[in-house]
């Protein structure tokens, strides 16, 4: 299973943190500092995998954001790289040419999209069409209600 997912910029600013195990807040902060440092110090020629404690970090950079997943020893590393890619595809579909700012200003959406895709550290839905539809359906539901509620009274 995936233990946690972190998204951070090249300057080390954290944009998303999703934890699939229970840890005290202090511990999470410590882990974040450590991992951001490890990943940012890797150069181009290295592999996408880093041994860390009893887990493995699988990371990939997309434009200005690093996506990092921590998986267990027996999990499939290459497939985890594609988990990251699929998540990026979902964000891209939703926001239309997603960029870091989208994730900053719509952070809660980034979490919702992730939740449609991964639950309890395991991939839930691997069909892009179905996942995207689920997310868009909810938005439409809300928009309709908001629109209805905001109609001027007379």
């Amino acid at each position: 299973m995936i233990h946690f997912i972190l998204l951070f910029s090249r300057q080390g600013k954290l944009r998303l943190q999703k934890w699939y195990t229970t840890l005290p807040d202090k511990e999470k902060k410590k882990i974040i500092r450590e991992i951001v440092q490890i990943i940012l110090s890797r150069n181009q020629k290295t592999s996408s995998f880093v041994d860390w404690k009893d887990l493995k970090l699988v990371y990939k950079r997309y434009a200005s954001l690093y996506f990092c997943c921590a998986i267990e020893d027996q999990d499939n590393e290459l497939l985890t790289l594609e988990v990251v890619h699929r998540y990026v595809e979902l964000l891209d579909k939703y926001f239309g040419n997603v960029c870091e700012l989208d994730i900053i200003f719509n952070f809660e959406k980034a979490y919702f999209i992730l939740d449609e895709f991964i639950i309890g550290g395991e991939v839930q839905e691997t069909s892009k069409k179905i996942a995207v539809k689920a997310i868009e359906d909810c938005d439409m539901l809300q928009e309709t209600v908001e629109e209805y509620m905001n109609k001027p009274a007379f």
Partner: protein, 711 residues
């Protein structure tokens, strides 16, 4: 496109985020945040009841502030209120808040569980999904108690929607991982196995994940899933790319499901039924064949997905270890990857080949790649890849190539990274290396090299601190072993005794290596482990006699199996007698099997630590020692010793940052004893005060004694 906010746009939130981004300094950011917190606090306390939209906006702002790294101590009630809204996004934000800021207040928990219960019963699949995701995200014991009985029913009910089934399966998986006792096997398990045949591949994927974990602890219950998994896998692997429609990923059919099915099959031995077994073999052959075909796409996503399935298939082949043909093919495929352009593939191939090396069918095939692996050790730029090469060299080593491999490792040691050096040194104390004449010669080369490159490393692990001819202070060497498990226990002109131990819970295993440093045989070589009467009842030691003749320059090994029955204070004695030339040798050393070897670290929060410290306040439970420091008072070394002792090192617990705090549990067959420790250094006086608190006086005494000698 930088959309400021999409969907339901909370404008106030976007403005706030903008303000934070525009802050020029940390102080400005904190000021702005405090201003907002005050604003939100007053809105929450205000006379007017807030409408759903505003509540949602403020809760979301609080969430944002928390995720930035600031502590939030209010808003939970409002978030919980949002859960009972009928508006989807309000519920959604409520759930997100409580999943991220988990609160252990029992009243809140009751309200949350109530809201979840309502959503689960609502029959609205989106609401049910939210509730299930929340349970899976939080996974607390209270939630498991409330819902673990309900969720299997939802999972196997005929009228449950596919998306809800998926969420239910993974939710149940989370609960099982954290509270397995609350998810007993039952009627539902056979229905879950049946989900492997479901039409919806998303449901099959989720069910496979669930079954894989459950099957590890309950293999009998789920063994019928094997043949279903094989059929499913076979259908996927042989399908055309148009068959699976949206489950095809960059021309690879259902890679996630394929990998999960292959993982599930790794929970079981090779299928007994010859038809199933045959089908699986065919399947694996197909996967191996496809790897040789030209790629359908140049995109890295295609090759990653394809190779992900390939590596998992190889993993299964290795796990079964029963089809020589498949094993050799797997080895050849990995051999190809060893020289691939892509670093990731070389890394994974080295790692995979390591496991392959221990199979008798493929060990020889693996050895044929020795030159490539040695080359990797020398030329790979990524230290993690070099690490894998070291592991593989060790795994493929046997009598036929030990000399070559040791030579390469020693060469590499000269320029190796610090992190790898320690690994190589500990590998080098293994039998193959010691058995040959090589040991005796290279051993001295090793000491010289290590002294030259890394003096502190030379004093740990295998090699001795001083030239081989002196006799060491017995007590000093004994105490050295309290915080570490490997190294030289004793040495004189004739004999060297090395140890390598591993401990787990209340059990342990110790390898004792006796090396004859002379060129004359030792005769009637008899090492005996002796325990006093008292010790015998607390510590169970089993060992076999060794070969009574030890050739000159040779090494023999003795295994001691250890079981800690109850806490013990003394150490066993190792007595060695043998004839050398015309003389009779008789020596005894204390064997460093100490109570702290069964000490397992326990992480805990500051709150928990002080609560337990208070609980152990009976004067009999505390033992204190004030003593002069024997070694330089280096904080990093002290921390390492505490961890080596077996304790967890708890940061930021003691209000004085210079103090060290630890916690752990001593595991014995009869009981487990919780232990807390506090070490206070006084740099000026070069002294320490060590305090141990455990529920048993004798344990506090012994641990305090042992640990005091370390500093």
């Amino acid at each position: 496109m930088p959309a400021v906010s999409k969907g339901d746009g909370m404008r106030g939130l976007a403005v706030f985020i903008s303000d934070i981004r525009n802050c020029k300094s940390k102080e400005a950011e904190i000021k702005r945040i405090n201003k907002e917190l005050a604003n939100i606090r007053s809105k929450f306390k205000g006379d007017k009841a807030l409408d759903g939209y505003s509540k949602k906006k403020y809760v979301c702002k609080l969430l944002f502030i928390f995720l930035l790294g600031h502590d939030i101590d209010f808003g939970h009630m409002e978030a919980v209120n949002l859960l009972s809204s009928n508006r989807y996004t309000e519920k959604q934000i409520g759930y997100l808040f409580i999943s991220v800021l988990v609160n252990s207040n029992s009243e809140l928990i009751r309200l949350i569980n109530n809201a979840i219960k309502n959503d689960l019963a609502s029959r609205n699949p989106t609401f049910m999904g939210l509730a299930l995701h929340c349970i899976a995200n939080v996974g607390s014991r209270e939630m498991a108690e409330a819902f673990a009985g309900e969720i299997p029913k939802i999972l196997v009910a005929g009228d449950t929607m596919d998306s809800v089934k998926q969420s239910a399966a993974l939710c149940l998986l989370r609960l099982y991982r954290t509270s397995p006792d609350l998810v007993p096997m039952g009627d539902w398990t056979s229905r879950v196995v049946h989900l492997l045949n479901d039409q919806h591949l998303g449901v099959v994927t989720a069910a496979t994940s669930l079954i894989t974990t459950l099957a590890q602890k309950n293999p009998e219950e789920f063994k019928t899933s094997v043949s279903l998994a094989v059929s499913r896998l076979s259908r996927i692997v042989t399908s055309a790319s148009t068959d699976l429609q949206d489950y095809t990923y960059y021309f690879v059919p259902a890679p996630w499901l394929s990998v999960k099915l292959l993982r599930l099959l790794q929970c079981y031995p090779p299928p007994e039924d010859p038809a199933v077994r045959g089908r699986l073999t065919e399947c694996l052959e197909t996967i191996l064949n496809k790897a040789q075909e030209p790629p359908k796409s140049k995109k890295v996503q295609h090759s990653n997905a394809k190779n992900a399935v390939l590596f998992e298939a190889i993993s299964l082949i290795i796990h079964h270890d029963s089809e020589p043909n498949l094993l050799v093919r797997a080895c050849n495929q990995l051999g190809q990857f060893l020289q691939h352009r892509e670093t990731n593939l070389r890394y994974l191939a080295l790692e995979s080949m390591c496991t392959l090396a221990s199979s008798e069918f493929s060990h020889e095939a693996v050895k044929t790649h020795i030159e490539t692996v040695i080359n990797a050790l020398k030329t790979e730029r990524d230290v993690s890849v070099r690490q894998r090469a070291v592991d593989l060299l060790y795994a493929m080593c046997d009598r036929s190539n030990a000399q070559q491999i040791v030579a390469e490792m020693l060469n590499y040691l000269e320029t190796a990274d610090y992190s790898i050096r320690e690994e190589i040194v500990s590998y080098l104390c293994f039998p193959y290396f010691f058995h040959s004449w090589l040991w005796y010669h290279k051993y001295h080369l090793l000491i010289r090299m290590l002294h030259r490159t890394s003096p502190d490393l030379a004093s740990s692990e295998v090699v001795s601190e001083e030239p081989a001819d002196t006799v060491h202070d017995a007590d000093e060497l004994f105490h050295k072993f309290v915080c570490k498990n490997n190294g030289v226990l004793f040495e004189n002109q004739l004999l060297q005794i090395g140890l390598k131990s591993e401990f787990r819970q209340n059990l342990g295993r110790m390898f004792i290596f006796y090396g004859n440093k002379t060129s004359t045989q030792f005769l009637n070589f008899t090492p005996t482990v002796i325990c006093s009467d008292d010790l015998q009842s607390s510590l169970n030691l089993q060992t076999k006699p060794v070969d009574p003749t030890v050739d000159g320059g040779a090494q023999v090994q003795q295994v001691v199996n250890i079981e800690c029955v109850s806490d013990f204070m003394e150490a066993p004695i190792l007595n060695i007698q043998f004839r050398y030339g015309g003389t009779f040798q008789n020596l005894s050393v204390k064997l460093p099997i100490t109570l702290n070897k069964f000490f397992q670290p326990t992480e805990m929060s500051s709150q928990d630590f002080f609560q337990r410290w208070k609980q152990l306040s009976n004067p009999k439970q505390e033992v204190q020692n004030i003593f002069k420091a024997k070694h330089p008072m280096d904080a990093e070394i002290t921390k390492a010793k505490i961890i080596g002792f077996g304790s967890a090192l708890l940061e930021e617990v003691d209000p004085n940052p210079a103090n060290f705090v630890g916690a752990g549990i001593i595991h014995t067959k009869t009981t487990q004893i919780g232990c807390l420790l506090r070490l206070e250094p006084n740099l000026q006086a070069q002294m320490y005060r060590l305090t141990l608190r455990t529920s048993k006086e004798a344990v506090s005494q012994r641990l305090c004694e042992l640990l005091s000698e370390q500093f």
